[in-house]
């Protein structure tokens, strides 16, 4: 029995609508013509109110009704959009979310919560001004009492509806709150008690409904019940409330002689010729409504990984056999497997825009709290990354944004004095860069004072008194535990816990954090995260008899080692690449492979990560290779320079190289050898 299915839908939809309201409200002030926004806000509040009524969540319904009234006043131009009003509406939205959350737990709000709700609505009414509330209330009734109409409703309740958690009583109660239910009748017979199934519905309901609601609104009230019911709503021809005869011009076209018969097959409309279809509303699209257990997704990805390996094996065999038809069939399959792989991986990828958008609100709230004027600019919202990463990046980002606002951006006065615009900017930016995603949090504030930071670090004993550091190294100290350059401790940041936690969190995701700052100009913190995917496009290389896989997106180019460098074999750790110093590593030495028996020319694969380049010397270039990352066993964990392993089509194992680590090693080795040269 899925008793709670319908409720689940209600909560999902409420969540989505609340999200829409938040975005809508934040957008409101930026719009030149906010009418469209106000309309959609109104619709969102209205839908929440209506659905809450249907499900009997009265607290939510009552509160959103007040909010809706204010939005309606806005919609009718009785009210103007002001920053204070938007702020209060945001608080009202939050309160609604709180009430919905309580309803989800099946609890009623306590006195304290209700009091806060009262305070918010009182404030809203205040802002709406003396005349507006009256106008709002009148307008909220949608149509005034003169056009009260009588509808005859025949509702044949589906037999399974009760079992699905839908209670016709709560709908009737909702209808009653918007009109009068007259001469209700239950029609149906019961079986004997022994055959009676208490969760089955045996009755249908007939009643007259006198209301000022529009035909559309009446129909919408039944929305959740439609799937399982037959519903006929017809205008009562004989008596119309307050003497509005049928056929007379009415303010709402749908109030004409409309007869709707709604069955499980769909909506059949009789009588009225032109009945406007439902306004496109923010319904849950199936794509967002399907929730899949992450474990199932992982399993799928795992299977796709196996498929990729199996496909490679079969392709290899086909090539060896030389059977044209088999090869062709295999190629077709390989293409499909690639498509499946991409789609499967895409399931896990989400755009970062949603994470970023949350910060609009944060920035708005905190800047008010701090008495600063701060704008948030967002770029690269369409950048996609793995869902698990998105979930974990929220907290560190929050830390960084707060930090930027609290310590980065100066007060408006100070900014003006420094010749900057009063309004500070915090920028969030995301982009892909050689196989990783980079997320930047930048501000145009005061920047980090390197001298102050260094002094602090010396005080804390992190840096020795005689140690000299580069600018970059000093800035990185900001991420050491126990260091904060904030003069005063606020409740936002400044207690010296924060940036080191951020760093730890990012490193737990196998990412890196870097900071760039110029005094008085601003600070930019860059987070670099791997696109932790189970499958990568690799570049396969051979050393002696072993295969190694380099993540393809880190590969820049492949070059042959020139003859004149031959002399340096074994000694130097860098070459001259078009005037650039390129440190390199010999994989043969690194992994202690046997000397190649055949004397042949070596190749260098140039790889890059985070702006640094290095070369990897290999024997053979074997080409692009799609590969599944298999985690290394416990024994091999921590082996320097390896990030995983994969199984080749031939069944052999190839190791996947950890490029960032190798680049670091190469750079250090090159620096050491240079120093030795200098020392000599």
């Amino acid at each position: 029995m899925n008793l709670d299915e319908a409720r689940k839908t209600y909560f999902l939809e409420a969540d989505e609508l609340l999200g829409e309201m938040e975005h809508g409200l934040l957008d409101l002030e930026q719009q030149e013509d906010p009418r469209e926004q106000i309309n959609s806000l109104f619709r969102a509040a209205h839908t929440i109110k209506g659905n809450s009524g249907v499900f009997g969540f009265d607290h939510v319904g009552r509160f959103t009704h007040r909010v809706e009234s204010v939005l309606d006043a806005l919609r009718n131009g009785h009210l103007q959009v002001t920053s204070a009003l938007v702020g209060e509406l945001l608080r009202a939205r939050d309160h609604t979310a709180e009430l919905v959350a309580l309803a989800a737990e099946g609890r009623d709000p306590d006195a304290d919560t209700l009091a806060r709700g009262e305070a918010i609505t009182a404030q809203l009414d205040d802002l709406a001004g003396g005349s507006a509330p009256v106008a709002a209330t009148a307008a909220c009734a949608e149509v005034d009492t003169a056009s009260e109409r009588r509808w005859h409703i025949e509702w044949n309740i589906g037999p399974d509806m009760l079992g699905h958690g839908l209670d016709p009583l709560s709908l009737l109660r909702y209808l009653r709150s918007n009109g009068r239910i007259e001469s209700p009748q239950l029609i149906g017979t019961f079986p004997t008690l022994s055959e009676f199934n208490p969760e089955k519905c045996y009755q249908s309901i007939r009643f007259d409904y006198v209301t000022t609601l529009s035909a559309q609104a009446v129909r919408e009230a039944f929305e959740f019940f439609l799937d399982e019911s037959e519903l006929v709503i017809s205008p009562d021809e004989s008596v119309a409330g307050a003497g509005v005869a049928d056929g007379e011009a009415t303010p709402d076209a749908t109030l004409g002689s409309v007869m709707m018969e709604i069955t499980t097959e769909g909506v059949v409309e009789r009588g009225g010729t032109e009945v406007p279809k439902d306004k496109p509303r923010a319904r849950l699209s199936p794509a967002t409504a399907i929730r899949v257990d992450a474990a199932k997704l992982d399993q799928l990805i795992n299977l796709v990984g196996e498929l990729v390996i199996a496909g490679a094996t079969s392709h290899l065999l086909a090539t060896q056999l030389g059977n044209e038809q088999l090869i062709e069939a295999n190629s077709a399959m390989t293409r499909l497997v690639e498509d499946i792989r991409d789609s499967a991986l895409n399931l896990r990828m989400v755009q970062i825009a949603e994470t970023f958008a949350r910060f609009q609100r944060v920035v708005r709230d905190i800047s008010q709290e701090l008495g600063k004027e701060i704008d948030l600019s967002i770029a690269g919202g369409e950048t996609e990354l793995d869902k698990t990463v998105v979930e974990k990046i929220g907290d560190p980002l929050m830390h960084l944004v707060r930090n930027a606002m609290d310590h980065g951006i100066e007060s408006p006065e100070k900014r003006q004095a420094a010749g900057k615009p009063r309004k500070g900017t915090v920028a969030l930016n995301a982009f892909h860069d050689s196989g990783s995603i980079v997320i930047q949090v930048a501000d145009d504030g005061g920047g980090i004072d390197p001298d102050k930071l260094l002094a602090k670090a010396r005080d804390a004993g992190i840096v020795g008194p005689t140690q000299t550091l580069t600018h970059q190294e000093i800035l990185r100290l900001a991420f050491e535990p126990g260091i904060s350059t904030a003069g005063k401790v606020t409740n936002l940041s400044g207690r010296g816990v924060g940036l080191d936690v951020v760093k730890r969190n990012i490193e737990a995701l196998r990412g890196t954090v870097d900071v760039d700052s110029e005094k008085d100009k601003g600070t930019c913190v860059s987070i670099r995260l791997p696109l932790t995917l189970a499958i990568i496009d690799g570049f396969r290389v051979g050393v002696a008899n072993s295969s190694y896989v380099i993540p393809l997106d880190t590969v820049i180019e492949c070059i042959e080692i020139e003859e004149r460098n031959e002399a340096k074999r074994g000694q130097a750790h860098y070459i001259n690449l078009r005037g650039e110093v390129l440190p390199f590593l010999r994989l043969r030495e690194l992994f202690q492979e046997a000397e190649s028996s055949r004397e042949r020319r070596e190749n260098i694969v140039v790889v890059s990560y985070a702006g640094q380049k290095a070369g990897l010397v290999v024997d053979e270039l074997l080409g692009e290779y799609q590969t599944v990352i298999k985690p290394l066993g416990r024994l091999f964990r921590g082996v320097h320079g390896l990030s995983g392993a994969t199984i080749l089509g031939s069944g052999d194992v190839a190791v996947i190289l950890d490029v960032p680590q190798l680049i670091q090693t190469a750079t250090q080795a090159a620096a050491n050898s240079q120093r030795r040269v200098v020392a000599m």
């Binding site: 008793l3 009760l162 079992g163 958690g165 209670d167 016709p168 009583l169 709560s170 009737l172 109660r173 009653r176 239910i181 001469s183 209700p184 009748q185 239950l186 017979t189 019961f190 079986p191 004997t192 008690l193 022994s194 009676f196 208490p198 969760e199 519905c201 045996y202 009755q203 309901i205 009643f207």
Partner: protein, 103 residues
Amino acid sequence: MSLHCTKTSQGRFALSGELDIYNANEAKAAMRDIVSNRDAEVDLSQITDIDFVGIQVLLAAKHEAESNDGALHLSEPSPVVSDALELLGVEAVVSTPQEASES
């Protein structure tokens, strides 16, 4: 969230708690018990919540009793019960105290 049925005297019962879908089967069992008495009276004053499922159980039980030439008196409805019955236009199923005592 529970439903209790207590026998107060011969043929007289009192239901208390929630007469809703969560207790649908208990409600059915209780009513079967009750209508096995030829003339029964059920006190509904302690019902704290009722939904369409609850109403149907009451109606089905009354129907059953009457089709067996017996009677089932539903009495003392609590406010939520009265309200629900009225909303569905079946408030007449409740016996007035007088009718109840006549039996």
